[in-house]
Homo-oligomer: 335 residues x 2
């Protein structure tokens, strides 16, 4: 690391970051929505997409919305991201995205046309059609929510819940990008790429799934690289120690951001994975071939704590037993 | 009809009803979102759910949101309806609903808990689990959007686009209900019913699909019975004449509503169907066995006009070639 950093400061800035704290209500919500006897639902909340068994296939279903802040700041980017985060959700499970539906509310026709232009751009780039949805032309707010359907062989699904003690933690991020001009917390590595490039990156997750090379995985979302690992650990019921120095990062000085800032960013293409030690090199190699930076950043252990380490000093970020991030009571993986 | 009614007044009140007029932007939106080369997408916008081919099965994907007005008036009923309208979307295609995801934004924990209570109630009653989604705990508005996944054999799908000249138009509605106390435009025939009763009603659509008894179908949604038929005709590129007298209705006087009001209501369980003349009795019989009222209300023709007729006077409601409702340029059924 070229810049000096304090693990305490990193730990605090991740722990108190809104991208992390706003996940706290999820556990309570899940309890409220639970119904009995759903033998085909293999996994649900806590995973990036729910897994529904249908014959030998798993159908993947996910939904995501965009922060209203982003919608106001840049409706094109909000529409683009609404598609991007959903494609990530399916990729994180090792799946192939099939189609999306959207629900759009808007206050002005300018916002509507910019949001749809963003959605159409990402939809065409990733090759995933928007096939239906619902339109609210008369709301006092502008919201874009998207849901996505994907598929993968049921034996090949990559879950968030599969990390085991002794597994390596891998962070894979496309560093070839920029701080998005409309949102300082978004690392845009996608809008400047070709369809072939982004689809190859998504394809790495599908290959990892097919070849059973990882034990768990998640796309790096709003909670950032460390917060996302925390969510993975929460549903895996494991702990981890990671080396801050090992986390892939762009040139921070050129991009005018601090390390604390970088680890809270949402990358255009980024995944946190765990794998058996002997698969580490092959997993990293596949990502690198697709133009991403991938590195082993730590180890899964049988504690309940996610700790970060730098120059021999180790600090706890999350005590997952005490506080959790999503506060999910039961394991999300139901079967 | 016990009350006198003017077909002109009915036609105007349907045509100018917000539930109908707010559909006008759909066509333009579809044009903006279209991408090329999606051979597996059999049908998309304009149908109640999109149809994605996967082996011999069709995967059905739909999304719906709830008017903010309803969210403010009664968050429990808004949550309940968010599930209900999605289950209807799958039922309308003859499908079996598998699972739902939701995106919830809320301004207060009271709204959140009432919305989720409503969703959980409907989810348990219809037996369709909510398996994931996204939560915005920090928005200045309250919105519930739900998406649903369903399945049906690809040869059995009921489309909106299948009506042919000479077909009968059938309206099937559960009249055993009440004007919802929180929303005068909702006919609630569901909250007081058992799980068995509502699932049997959904099951009728599945049986119609399996036995290929109908040529087209749609659930009656916010545009009401006549407006929904107009949408079906728009994607079928046909016209129809219906008899106002034949439309199933509850006792209007007891419920303190006019006929003009009734035809604009969203029924808890209602479908518009078209079928070959010889299947009319069997289609109606199946609905009646499930406790619904079903009647042949008119005929499909090869005009572009939906007309209503009463005591020998016939009036045009929609000139679908001139104005349309959703203004979809291409046929929604792509293959």
């Amino acid at each position: 690391m070229t810049e000096k950093c304090s693990p305490d400061s990193v730990a605090r800035s991740v722990r108190e970051y809104e991208g992390v704290t706003r996940k706290r209500d999820i556990g309570e919500l899940i309890e409220c929505l639970r119904i009995q006897d759903q033998p085909n639902v293999v996994a649900s909340f806590g995973e990036d997409a729910a897994v529904i068994r249908q014959d030998g296939n798993a159908l993947l279903l996910a939904a995501d919305g965009i922060w209203s802040k982003l919608m106001e700041a840049d409706p094109f980017w909000a529409g683009y991201c609404a598609v991007l985060v959903n494609v990530h959700d399916i990729a994180a499970m090792g799946g192939t995205p099939l189609a999306m539906v959207d629900v759009l509310s808007f206050t002005s026709s300018t916002i509507r046309s910019e949001v749809t232009r963003g959605m159409q751009t990402a939809s065409a780039q990733f090759g995933v059609p928007i096939v239906g949805g619902h339109l609210h032309p008369d709301t006092p707010y502008s919201v874009i929510d998207v849901a996505i359907l994907g598929t993968v062989r049921v034996d090949d699904v990559i879950y968030s819940s599969g990390a085991r003690p002794g597994d390596r933690v891998i962070a894979a991020i496309d560093l070839d990008g920029r701080v998005h001009p409309s949102c300082i917390l978004n690392w845009d590595s996608v809008t400047m790429k070709s369809a072939e490039e982004v689809r190859e990156q998504i394809g790495v997750m599908q290959e990892l799934a097919r070849r059973h090379l990882v034990t768990a995985g998640k796309d790096i979302s709003n909670p950032g690289v460390i917060g996302t690992l925390g969510m993975l650990l929460e549903v895996s019921k494991r702990g981890a120690v990671i080396e801050l120095d090992a986390i892939p990062r762009p040139d921070l000085r050129t991009n005018n951001i601090t390390f604390e800032h970088w680890v809270r960013m949402y990358p255009g293409m980024g995944f946190i994975l765990t794998c058996r030690d002997e698969h580490t090199d092959e997993v990293c190699r596949l990502f690198r071939e697709a133009g991403m930076n991938a590195a082993a950043i730590g180890w899964i252990d049988d504690t309940d704590t996610l700790s970060v380490s730098y120059e021999g000093v180790t600090t706890s970020v999350f005590d997952l037993k005490q506080e959790g991030i999503m506060r999910i009571l039961d394991n999300a993986r139901l079967v």
